[in-house]
């Protein structure tokens, strides 16, 4: 009895690519049901059961065909094709700008867009800030709830975080549990405010009763200092490291303005005027 191997796959790009490979198509054409199914195109998703086998007597093969969408005999040619397709997929992935797991932008996009924003800052003089966010206790989730739960956490919290940011901000997954935030036309004062709100939001999430916190490192781009793209990225990374060292759930930042003054806006004249109105108010009787 020959060894049979069951392969299930989704009707996705990879399968369609097989469609285009002529030699594989030849194999598939014998399976009329499958070729029809493929010709229908990419609309909708479906289950595809392929059985890869070694050489089979035709009676056995017929039997198998009744239970599967396709029965494909393994040969050197097929293996080579699969390797080729895999290589192509990998190349496509490296060209991609979105993160596979979360669907957010990826590091490639982040660096690309950071370059754009830095150029814009140089030209227009509008400030721009970036931040790197890292969860303090993601490992705990991974260890105690399992990796799939960890992935689910990253995906859901990633999307929630994106919703909390302004439409002009970019949230990217840099890898692991590290996220990058790009804030165009935003000074350090506002950027810190945004980071602080995001941090608070994360603290308020109780993921399966785990309290999660995040550390954030931030850097403001100052065109006067002629900092290069990777240098700015590293500055934010150093600040992230500092935030972690400071005891986690912290925000650390570097920018043009003094750290303290950066975060503190003085009491405005409007606030002051209203505050002093207390003397004009008539006591209620």
């Amino acid at each position: 009895m020959p060894r049979n191997q069951k392969v299930t796959g989704k009707k996705t790009a990879a399968v369609k690519k097989i469609d285009k490979r002529r030699s594989i198509e030849k194999i598939i054409k014998k399976n009329k049901g499958l070729s029809d199914w493929l010709r229908e195109g990419g609309a909708g998703r479906g289950e595809l059961l392929m059985i890869l086998t070694e050489k089979l007597p035709s009676a056995d093969r017929k039997k198998l065909e009744r239970t599967a969408d396709a029965v494909i005999e393994l040969g050197a040619d097929l293996v080579r094709r699969i390797i080729e397709i895999e290589r192509e997929n990998k190349q496509l992935r490296s060209l991609s700008l979105t993160d596979e797991l979360t669907g957010l932008y990826n590091k490639r996009f982040f660096k690309m867009q950071l370059g754009v924003e830095m150029a814009r800052t140089k030209r227009s003089g509008q400030p721009c800030c970036m931040a790197i966010l890292d969860f303090d206790n993601f490992k705990e989730i991974n260890d105690s709830l399992g990796h799939s739960e960890g992935d689910r956490f990253l995906t859901e919290v990633g999307l929630l975080m994106r919703d909390r940011l302004r439409p002009t901000d970019f949230l990217c997954r840099l890898g692991g549990d590290e996220f990058g935030i790009l804030m165009p036309a935003t000074g350090l004062v506002d950027a810190i405010g945004i980071a602080r709100r995001l941090q608070q939001f994360i603290t308020d999430i109780h993921w399966k009763k785990c309290i999660v916190t995040a550390s954030i490192g931030m850097a403001e781009f100052d065109p006067a200092t002629k900092v290069a793209l990777d240098e700015l990225f590293n500055l934010a990374d150093i600040e992230l490291y500092r935030a972690k060292k400071d005891g986690k759930n912290k925000i650390s930042y570097t920018g043009v303005i003094d750290r303290r003054i950066a975060a503190a806006e003085p009491v405005s004249l409007q606030e002051r005027d209203l505050l002093l109105k207390v003397k004009d108010e008539k006591p209620r009787r």
Partner: protein
Amino acid sequence: MKTRKKRNPIIVCVTSGKGGVGKTFLTVNLAAALAKKGKKILVVDCDFGLANVDIMLGIRPVRTMKDVVFGEATLQDVIVRTTGGFDLVPACSGVRDMAQLLYERIEMIKEMLLSLEGYDLILLDTGAGMTEVVLQFNLLANRNILVINRELTCLMDAYAMIKVLYQLFGRDSFDIIVNSSMDEKEGDRIFRHFDSICRRFLGFPLTHLGSLRHDEDVPRSIMNQEILVKASPHSKIAESCASMAGALSRRRA
């Protein structure tokens, strides 16, 4: 992930921004009122350099927080029992470099305070102004009480204090005590006004812990180095202190 085995004391910081608003008077009387309710209370005089609590209580401290900061004594060593039924960590007066030194050791002091056993509440009486030390003590505390009165300068300083604590450290929960108002209604009115501005510009509401009406008994008790809550327990002021103490101890955790 939190264990409830050992209950740490709740640290409450009393601050005002402007001086002379009645922080120390309130701290001492709140502590006495809480002690009366059977709570174990520690008051820490955090005005290093210009200490007051000991004078208000008529205590002559031999050892103070200075000895703790310089490593010459433990916190346990300097704690004194007061006539108000609560304990006190006195501060020292006239040491200029205390502030800087204290700032460097704030973490150490925090750990020492948290490791103290047997206290329900620790009240920190901070000095006036917005110095680094004052900010650090406010940050260290679990709860922040701000004492305000009807003076415009006081309202301004208290608001500035709240704004800085919010902007720098994300603090957005403050208990307000309105001191020396003409009556209850004026206290409410000042609070509502102050609260509306916080809501509008900072985006969070304040809590009204209570109001103390203006009373000639207050300066008299300070002059006599007595605790008003204890000396005249049936006065209006004592009643207000008791109700604030009740509100403070009810909302623990």
